[in-house]
């Protein structure tokens, strides 16, 4: 039930600018109505993207939350890797990790001018 509450909060903040503003003003206060553990509250306040991924937050919900926090794409991917490295495999759900921690499957295209500049 607790993971459900984490995801419910994220679902609601992802689609509500009013809740986003309230979260920005007081992160702990907006979480009070939700049935969350201390670990989950800390992860949502930080935000600890790696821990949220590890506990099983659906990747689509988490991706939108990371975008709200202006977390750049490659940084977002790395934070999830770090979460798995620190806490272990995803606990539940279908959004898991199947590649190795150091594996990269979507490299940023290296522009010709960057190669020439080296």
């Amino acid at each position: 039930m607790s993971l459900y509450a984490v995801q419910k909060f994220l679902y609601e903040i992802n689609r509500s600018e009013t809740l986003q503003a309230a979260y920005t003003a007081d992160r702990h206060a907006v979480l009070e109505p939700y049935d969350l553990t201390d670990e989950e509250i800390d992860a949502l306040v930080e935000p600890d993207i790696g821990l949220l991924f590890h506990i099983g937050v659906n990747g689509q919900i988490l991706m939108h939350f990371a975008a709200f926090h202006q977390i750049e794409w490659q940084d977002y991917l790395q934070r999830m890797r770090d979460g798995i490295d620190e806490h272990g495999p995803v606990r539940e759900g279908v959004y898991a990790m199947t590649i190795g921690l150091d594996e990269r499957v979507a490299p940023v295209h290296e522009r010709a001018e960057d190669r020439e500049g080296r």
Partner: protein, 272 residues
């Protein structure tokens, strides 16, 4: 009025949000294919575009998750994502509540659906509209197939849903286009993002072009998850369009992997 257009396209958020990180050659050829789809869609002169997407918890959650839902409003807003992150500014997209109601009433003759008078668009609809109706001047009827929160409707139910959509199109006087959006194999929004099973994708699109019902339904979620990732569940939207095309044969105009976009970027249409 019979269906005037049927096609499918990718909707991954990286297509607009991370365009600067893709190989420009393959990216630009993909964008060109998207633009040709826009030209073909426009030439069909649709009164409304029924856009069959797999949304990502923008409107529906596990407290009340419909397998199939259809929008019924005069307008829709999106994207819900940060506009800078997605690369698409917030828009108000026109709908048609009265037409939606007539459409849904017809669909319900063959399939149970939820209707929604509120609907916020996420990348699953906004990315395709960005390319296909860039002026946001064609009314849309949004359709969602739950591809996110298992248990998911079996594939044969997606097929039946497509048949119900086609019957609704045939029963109404308006010129209706159907566009399905989604990925084929992909592992989105995880560190696996960019992993693509190209062989699996091409085989699926071959079945889609042949409009081979038995072959399209010859998957189960366990093997799809193993071979095509959790994103592979979105084949339900493509299968729905195949059924709506009612035996028409298809053409793949573009299907190449662009890892930074997380999918085999795909554009395909049926000969209606």
């Amino acid at each position: 009025m019979p269906l005037v257009f049927a096609g499918v396209c990718s909707h991954a958020p990286g297509i607009t949000g991370r365009s600067d990180q893709a190989d420009p050659d393959v990216r630009d050829r993909f964008y060109a294919a998207f633009d040709r789809m826009r030209v073909d869609l426009t030439a069909a002169r649709p009164d409304v575009v029924v856009i069959i997407a797999a949304e990502h918890f923008a409107n529906f959650f596990m407290d009340n998750m419909p397998s199939f839902a259809i929008g019924m409003a005069d307008h829709y807003d999106g994207p819900i994502e940060d506009p800078g992150w997605l690369g698409i500014e917030r828009q108000r997209v026109p709908g048609n509540r009265e037409l939606s109601q007539r459409f849904i009433t017809q669909v319900m003759n063959g399939s149970d659906v939820s209707y929604a008078e509120e609907w916020k668009f996420d990348h699953g609809i906004m990315v395709p509209l960005h390319f296909l109706t860039p002026g946001y001047d064609v009314p849309v009827i949004p359709v969602n197939v739950n591809c996110q929160g298992p248990p998911l409707a079996p594939l044969q139910r997606a097929w039946t849903f497509g048949e119900s959509i086609r019957a609704a199109c045939d029963a109404l006087p308006e010129r209706i286009a159907v566009v399905g959006t989604g990925g084929i194999s992909h592992w989105p929004a995880t560190p696996d993002s960019g992993k693509i099973n190209v062989e699996w994708d091409l085989d699926f699109m071959d079945r889609w072009c042949r409009n081979d019902r038995d072959a399209l339904l010859d998957y189960d979620d366990l093997t799809v998850y193993a071979d095509a990732g959790q994103g592979g569940f979105e084949i339900r939207t493509f299968i729905t369009v195949a059924a709506a095309a009612d035996g028409a044969k298809g053409t793949v105009h573009f299907c190449e992997p662009i890892p930074i976009f997380a999918v085999s970027c795909t554009i395909a249409t049926y000969e209606i």
